[in-house]
Symmetry: D2
């Protein structure tokens, strides 16, 4: 049995959802809903049997619709997701889950109360590269995690409503959340940013995230770089992984080299190392070619069918929102470290510049 679905939002991301939900054997698309009905009609033209409307009630009145995918501006996620869940529908929400932590937590509560599935569309987590990274972090291939350094810079669209951290860092934060085991999640955030062009919001941002066991994560996000870089390094005690998302042929490379502490060394020379080095092979594993969003749709349908939490559930969306809000607070207080998780206050004013 396929899952009957509707998509809300015919803008940038909606058409990709339409295409993937239409082509998946696990789902059937019945509606595309957008206030701009003409635009919606253009999007669904190639697909048979998909109706369009500007009225969400019409969608929710259709008993074939068991689940809704929401791809509208972030500020509207909360209200739309709430309406769908209160109408008993499962919901897949584009990242970020909502525009504030409080809203995100409310959505999780409602999903639990209603017994519906709430999934955050952290798309990157469903790429072959990130799936493989998660495996290698969790099966011990990398050993203990020492540091995670992420760079996501580009000549990017300066957004009207959110700064570069809320625009780009959700990718890095959701990936971090996905690949690290729960006991290694960040304990805080310090954020620095700059708005050198006078855009009214940070265009360059740096996030530092202390991790348990003396490890550290860091992300550099930047809208002003003429060169495009999307690289993440995950340093481990056994191996180090480099993910270069722009490399067509060598997306992941696993380096069997590193530094090992040798406390027994006693060398009087000033330059003496306390460590020894391991220089080994590098392996670039072959990755399957598959579209991440196909994996998102499959996971959503499968989680509903099996009545289990999806890999990037509402809680994952909430954790990312918590980090983003903490980052905004840190930015407002000269980069002071803001704790999260058990140690975090967890109260904030939501996304965007004030």
């Amino acid at each position: 049995m396929t899952l009957g679905m509707a998509v809300i939002g015919a803008g940038y991301w909606g058409p990709n959802l339409v295409r993937n939900i239409s082509s998946s054997a696990a789902t059937s698309l019945h509606w595309l809903c957008d206030l701009d009905v003409e635009r919606a009609a253009g999007v669904v033209a190639p697909y048979a049997g998909v109706a369009t409307t500007g009225d969400l009630d019409e969608v929710l009145a259709d008993p074939r619709v068991e689940a809704v995918a929401i791809a509208t501006p972030a500020a509207t996620h909360f209200e739309l997701a709430l309406a769908c869940m209160e109408a008993g529908r499962h919901v897949l929400v584009e990242k970020p889950l909502a525009s504030s932590l409080a809203e995100g937590r409310k959505l999780v509560e409602v999903a639990q109360a209603r017994g519906v599935t709430l999934m955050t569309d952290h798309t990157y987590c469903y790429t072959p590269a990130v799936r493989r990274i998660r495996e290698m972090v969790q099966d011990g291939t990398l050993g203990d995690i020492h540091y995670v350094d992420s760079v996501r810079i580009n000549l990017g669209l300066v957004q009207r409503d959110i700064d570069v951290i809320w625009d780009l860092a959700p990718h890095d934060l959701s990936i971090l959340d996905f690949v690290l085991p729960a006991e290694l999640r960040p304990t805080g955030v310090a954020a620095h940013g700059a708005d050198p062009i006078g855009a009214g919001r940070a265009c360059v941002g740096y996030l530092t995230l202390p991790l348990p066991r003396s490890a550290l994560a860091h992300a550099h996000v930047n809208w002003l770089s003429p060169t495009k870089v999307r690289t993440t390094i995950i340093g481990g005690s056994r191996r180090t992984l480099v993910w270069d998302d722009l490399s067509p042929t060598q997306r992941l490379s696993l380096h069997d080299r590193g530094v090992e502490l040798d406390a027994s060394l006693r060398d009087e020379d000033r330059r003496a190392a306390l460590v020894s080095y391991r220089i080994g092979d590098m392996v670039a594993p072959a990755l399957p070619e598959s579209e991440a969003l196909q994996g998102v749709v499959a996971e959503f349908a499968s989680a509903i069918a099996q009545d289990r939490a999806p890999a990037t559930d509402g809680h994952a969306g909430v954790r990312v929102l918590e980090l983003l809000e903490a980052a905004s607070r840190s930015l407002d207080s000269a980069g002071a470290l803001v704790p999260v998780g058990d140690g975090g206050a967890g109260l904030g004013a939501g996304m965007g510049p004030k």
Copy 2:
């Protein structure tokens, strides 16, 4: 007339000084001084007329010696430089100038009192690439400086006495000091670090340095990366410069592309840009091939001959020490921003972990 010189220290850097002072037409090398006299003798074997000794007094008793280059462990810089200057000699000191800000300031005072030249060997500043960067920053080629992002990561020697920030960041900080005009120097430092291997000192470090006019500098230094990266991006309002020090053929690239704020834009779309983009050519300027240390020696001899301050004088060395001390204080206080310059306390405990 050539400048009569001695070198102190036959370790890692001393032999390079010996070679360059010997081969320069502006200088004559008379002594190499090291406690390990045998090692010193091996270093000077190919050069005629260079004597060796383990006794600095013997060097300073030689009236041919007008200037001394010091390439010993940082902890000894202060005492040796002081002795040489008090004996009326000009002094060139390997970076860092001293092991604390207080020592560095004292050296500057003594140099002024004695009327001798004190130069810090910020070698990178004399590479063809950095000289060219300075020109392009200062002649307006880049326009207003928006951000400076520096990455210096490698599988590096974990030092016994200093952390990765004191080991590697002096390069980035001295370059920043050299290329930026005085009015754009950093106003503070926030530092984050991690010691995931239990080495007793930070092996991964991030420095954030607010600059005047809403600009920002940032440096990532790391001893634990299996891939070597040495890249600095300087974003400007007119052009952006990328310096990849490991690229054999394209060390500098100047990108005539960027983001321009256009306040008149009114676009109702959520993804609308407030900005327009400029996509232009990229130019990789040809750089002369020359050894940086040759430039250091030439600048030192020339500054003495012309009785002027060298480009990287004692003050430059002091400014770098001030930033390093501020970084250490920030590291000790969870990354809190520590002001420097007029706003900085300027008192600290020197280098290294406590």
Copy 3:
């Protein structure tokens, strides 16, 4: 007035033609013709007003159809193009123009006799990169052309009916024909190939093409390489151009460096150069983003409207066929140089292995 068109062939290339002809303001698409009518119907589903048929006569009976684009297997090009032209239609033919030189020449004759436009779809010639290369070759930016070295290797589909030279080299040969002025066209071809996997046809091929004025062109085509390379170097007396079609950011780079003969030099040293070197800047010009096939369609419509020969006309298609046939003959005679152009016999047996 827009040009009324039909497309024949709904396979690999046809859908791209359908999309570009539909979206161009200069053309209107009326028919997609393919023996597999169901496939054709799937292709045109998103486009309004495009009929499908398996019968070419039906297309040619429609007076709205002024021009036909043919994207069928090469073996059928001749017959289909002939039929269309004899019905008074202008024709755009996917490369190669036909499956033998004799067929190609016949098509040119018929086009002239009928007064219709015959264009070869040498798509690469309409990319922003190749257009710019042509400009720089022809306006003297490069100076005299010294050599052209092209590498097009990949893990490619081993074709059933043609060898790697007929499959891939048409790209290189058509680009060479497009960018070089008529007086610099190749005077012959020597071809070497290998079939190490026993596929029944060459899977690795090398073409050497002497050019007038002591210049030389060479192309390496290969179906068996696990790494993908698409690079062309055009060496000139003033500058050298490197085209790396796989580089996202630096597709073209213009090197102002080279070797200059200095006949006055007299140096007795064995290693002495007879030449001097010029080391200058490198410039990577910004290129517009545009789809090549859009340019093909625009050129076809414009050439018809203006009653002029298109940039890649039937003659260009014939010249490429002549080089391909000469390459096949060379391959059959151990790499012997086969003259083309005025010196070439111009008779051959067409494409593919015997």
Copy 4:
């Protein structure tokens, strides 16, 4: 017991031999002989116990001298090596072994007659990369060898006496000779070249070398390229190896991907493959850091001590000369394929343009 040695030639390569022979535990250097005695004296200054002379007889009169390394212009190799061998000395000769095939064969004969060791200094064969390549070719890691494609291009010194093929291709040909088993050696050569700058000799060259079992080798050598490329691809039935000698971190990469013929496939589609593809991991093996010339000296001393042929003996030097002469003949006859080995005439006029 160490091997007593002399070096002849204090030019470009001689000082490297001096340094490596001096530092090897297996050899002792007694003489450096060069007509320019002053230059020779400068070269040996840092080394104790090395005398200089302009007179070879003085060297050969010294009974401590058991072996001689010759690093003089190629035109003098024959006479000098002959003199040394006739005086009973083992000889190591810089590539090319001699300036003609006839000379090379004579040297081999004399070495056999005199019972001395004759070794060709094919330096590249002693790099860690090439040693590893040889292992992987010969132990079956690559499977059957399908093709070898080598590119060695650069802005190089245009030589006075030899063309680009004699200057650069000896590297590629000696490596090919070294890594391939005897039964896979080239059976002929076709050479194409161009002299577009009027230097009087080919500055751009292409060699095609048919190998047994339908395999093919090819080399592109070029003095006029502003970009430097030194890459060799060895395609095999099991894996393909890419050697990028300019990559600091990934000199060798072993690709577990390729094309496999599947004769059972019957696909009516025009684009149908006769093959299947294997997409696997890529491995970049760690290579030891070692200087190739150190390996040359060690192999020479070890071969003499063990009374065995060195890995690159006189026969290897002769095979390379045979290919070079065949290439020159092919160049003179419009690229006609010239057989070598059992099928080759083996008579030629030696190196260089006429």
